[in-house]
């Protein structure tokens, strides 16, 4: 995300690795649970929501990175990256919603918003690099 080996970035990386490992384990577990036990009612809801928790955790970890980053320049870059990601995700989701409403696009699960947002972070990183090269970092 950012070119830095600061303690804040190291903690960020550790937390992301932990959450992503948890996500993979939970996703496999919940899939197996639904395939084998066919849960219903409250237990089905509880199990289905479990894979979302590590992803929500990633959002919290990114917010935490913003707080813990002591380097104000890197913080500005990260804020821009987050704004680009949010704008990208909202734009695509809004456009897709209208296409879907008029029967021109298939239904897509809402969790794809998170995937779009993570893609937007990558896009934001590219914009940051491009602006840095052009000499317009802030």
């Amino acid at each position: 995300m950012l070119k830095s080996k600061s303690p804040a970035m190291r903690r960020y990386t550790q937390r992301i690795v932990l959450l992503m490992s948890g996500y993979v384990a939970i996703l496999f577990g919940v899939n197996a649970y639904f395939d084998n036990s066919h849960p219903t009612g409250l237990s089905a809801f509880a199990a289905a929501i479990l894979p979302a928790l590590p992803i929500i955790g990633v959002f919290a970890v990114i917010a935490r990175l913003l707080v813990e980053l002591r380097d104000e320049y890197l913080r500005v870059m990260l804020v821009r990256q987050i704004l680009i990601a949010t704008g990208f995700m909202l734009s695509v989701a809004t456009a897709w919603g209208f296409l879907e409403a008029f029967g021109l696009a298939p239904h897509v699960e809402a969790y794809y918003a998170a995937i779009l947002w993570f893609g937007g972070l990558g896009l934001g990183g590219c914009v940051n690099a491009w602006l840095e090269r052009r000499g317009e970092a802030s």
Binding site: K3, S4, S6, R70, D71, E72, Y73, L74, V76, E132, G135, E136, A137, S138
Partner: protein, 67 residues
Amino acid sequence: MKNRLKVLRAMRDWSQGDLADRLEVSRQSVNAIETGKYDPSLPLAFRIAELFALPIEQIFDSPTKKD
């Protein structure tokens, strides 16, 4: 914002990394400030001024002042 950071750093024979360590920021930040891509906050500008023992206006050119 134009500044004399590169000159002041060179006078002390410091690399960008040396200055970054002294200011507790990334080398990326020092480079961005030196090249005028990023204007530091007031607290960071004061830290820079204190490190070089100079008033802020002797390091950074006022953006409103025309030469």
